[in-house]
């Protein structure tokens, strides 16, 4: 494990306020009229400024959990709170997704007919910012992920690592306080995976952002300030590991 990264994440976690960002209580999610039980009573919390890794094998429910945190799925039962407010009962989930949350997907999900600069501006259309301000902010974000020389390139003209950088810049477009990353390095080679992870951790530290990272790669999870392991739709008992940095 990279000791400098570990120290940085631990410091961020330590300096975080004790405010709870997410609270999940007995969270359940069924699909196909209950034939598939994706989550079976999940209990966990996420604190402000921490880097939480959710690990587990494929199909254990970690992506479903992440989607619920992002108000993309509704729980079948249980309670899910964001800063004390029930996520399923949010009056405007799109506003929550646009302003509070930044999503990073394994498959990048950039829009292929738009340039890197345009892709980053797309979430900003919901904010009412003037076009020139949107453009300036997008340029700054792409610069912060090291892509100032790729502004006018379409996704097909970018490498996998560059696409994920664009996706990260896009996730930061509206200045969210929480980043939800679903296997962000899953489609990348090891070198690009390392660079993307470093970038995410740097952003987490610099911006004091809460970062919830879903991964099945334990080497990545080890760099989080805390890890939660899931299996068969449940958080494994005694699976939480907190990195103190000592």
């Amino acid at each position: 494990m990279n000791s400098s990264i570990c120290a940085a994440t631990s410091a961020a976690a330590t300096s975080a306020t004790s405010a709870r960002v997410f609270d999940a209580i007995d969270l359940e999610k069924n699909f196909d009229d209950g034939h598939v039980q994706a989550l079976r009573g999940v209990n966990f919390r996420v604190m402000q400024g921490e880097l939480l890794a959710i690990t587990g094998p494929s199909g254990c429910g970690k992506t479903t959990l992440l989607q619920m945190l992002g108000a993309l799925e509704r729980p079948t039962a249980g309670t899910l709170l964001y800063r004390g407010k029930s996520i399923p009962d949010l009056p405007d989930p799109s506003n929550y997704r646009a302003r509070e949350i930044g999503f990073i997907f394994q498959a990048f999900h950039l829009l292929p007919t738009f340039t890197a600069l345009e892709n980053v501006q797309i979430p900003m259309l919901e904010t009412g910012l003037p076009p020139s301000e949107r453009k300036d902010r997008a340029i700054a974000l792409l610069r912060s992920v090291g892509l100032e020389h790729r502004l006018g390139h379409f996704p097909a003209e970018l490498s996998g690592g560059e696409r994920q950088r664009v996706a990260i810049a896009r996730s930061l477009a509206n200045g969210p306080s929480v980043l939800l990353a679903d296997e962000p390095t899953g489609n990348l080679d090891s070198e690009n995976a390392r660079l993307i992870l470093e970038l995410l951790i740097r952003l987490h530290v610099e911006r004091n952002m809460t970062l919830v990272l879903v991964t099945h790669d334990m080497s990545i999870a080890e760099q989080a300030s805390r890890t939660v392991q899931m299996k068969d739709g449940r958080v494994m008992p005694d699976s939480e590991v907190t990195i103190t940095g000592e």
């Binding site: 997704r97 498959a107 999900h109």
Partner: protein
């Protein structure tokens, strides 16, 4: 980048499909412009002709044919003495095949009637008397027939002399062969028959008095129907049929356009399900997605409408040169009709986009993550 960049990018990503859809809607709108323009042109040309002749009231029986039904010339004598009637002019008008022109207006007028007075000689002279075997040609009619003063013209079995070319200040007048009433009555075997009485009222006559006069004439001349000149053509059964057919055909073309745009937009939404889910996951409101789809379809309508208006305008000109209707009417390509056509196209676009937009708004954003 703005919201409209995304709208336009959505349309041009499939240029062939978008182009074909535009072609479909533009043909529909071209049909509206051409057909409605022609029927309106018929009405306007007729009204302009009435105005040019100085006619306030027309007595005729338009029936269901393109020209009025003949009735006894004595009808004119029954109304000439009525109050507010300043002058009358008995007319026999027909659409006839004249030499190489398949349909041409042939207008025979009572000698010395006021309908002769508006004709301005461009060349030659007027006939000397009602018995002279002569015609004057409107300037457009002369062009269509390729005749000049001194030429002979064959109308049915009679050969007449072209003694003058006239400008009648209206399309209908300029496209007519004009001659004295007895000559056409003889040619068409309509002795003592006329089919139109033009009436000029005294200058101070009010609209209400014109209406009362029409009612009185209708009692005196049951074989015809009196109405203000401006209403004459619109009350014609034939004109109503032409108008109904124009709108009916146009409606059919528009329905085809609706289906075309709807198909395109549905395909677009199906193809872009993943993209729409991504936009929703990034925080776009469903209403913005609906607006995006509606704007795309409205834009298709707008561009298709403008193209359709251009195609229709050219089409009308081409139709106007067809032998069957050449010289009969001046197509109405007024700003009103062109604006209406574009408005129809945009409405078609929006209506066509409603269902696809609704479908797109029902998508669940979590689909994007499952892909």
């Amino acid at each position: 980048m703005t919201f409209f960049t995304i709208v336009i990018r959505g349309l041009i990503r499939r240029p062939v499909r978008t182009g074909l859809t535009l072609l479909g809607i533009s043909i529909g709108i071209a049909a509206v412009v051409a057909l409605v323009g022609m029927s309106r042109g018929l009405s306007k040309s007729w009204e302009a002709g009435m105005r040019a002749r100085g006619t306030d009231i027309v007595v005729s029986n338009m029936g269901s044919s393109l020209t009025p039904q003949p009735f006894s010339a004595s009808a004119r004598d029954r109304i000439a003495h009525l109050p507010h009637v300043a002058a009358t002019c008995a007319i026999l008008v027909d659409l006839m095949s004249v030499e190489n022109v398949q349909m041409m207006m042939v207008s025979a007028r009572e000698w010395n009637g006021f309908s002769w007075k508006n004709l301005r000689l461009v060349a030659g002279r007027m006939p000397h008397d009602p018995s002279e075997q002569a015609v004057v040609l409107g300037r457009t009619a002369a062009d269509l027939l390729g005749k000049k003063v001194g030429d002979k013209i064959q109308i049915e079995t009679e050969e007449l002399s072209v003694v003058g070319i006239v400008d009648g200040n209206a399309w209908v007048e300029n496209c007519s062969v004009i001659l004295a009433l007895p000559i056409l009555q003889k040619i068409t075997d309509n002795r003592d028959k006329i089919n139109v009485i033009d009436i000029r009222v005294t200058p101070s006559t009010s609209t209400g008095e014109v209406e009362q006069l029409c009612e009185r004439i209708n009692k005196l001349v049951p074989e015809g129907r009196a109405m203000a000149a401006s209403e004459n053509i619109s009350n014609s059964q034939a004109y109503r049929i032409v108008q109904a057919m124009s709108w009916g055909t146009s409606l059919l073309a528009v329905v085809v356009g609706v289906l075309g745009v709807m198909n395109t937009m549905l395909m677009t939404v199906f193809e872009r399900t993943h993209e729409i889910c991504i936009l929703l996951a990034l925080g776009w409101k469903r209403w913005r997605i609906v607006r995006m789809v509606l704007w795309e379809s409205a834009l298709l309508g707008l561009v298709g409408g403008v193209a359709g208006v251009l195609i229709g305008a050219v089409g009308v000109k081409v139709l106007g040169r067809m032998p069957a209707i050449r010289g009969l009417l001046e197509p109405d390509l007024s700003v009103n009709l062109l604006t209406l056509s574009v408005a129809i196209a945009v409405t078609v676009g929006v209506i066509s986009g409603l269902y696809p937009a609704w479908r797109s708004s029902r998508l669940e954003p979590s689909r994007a993550l499952r892909a």
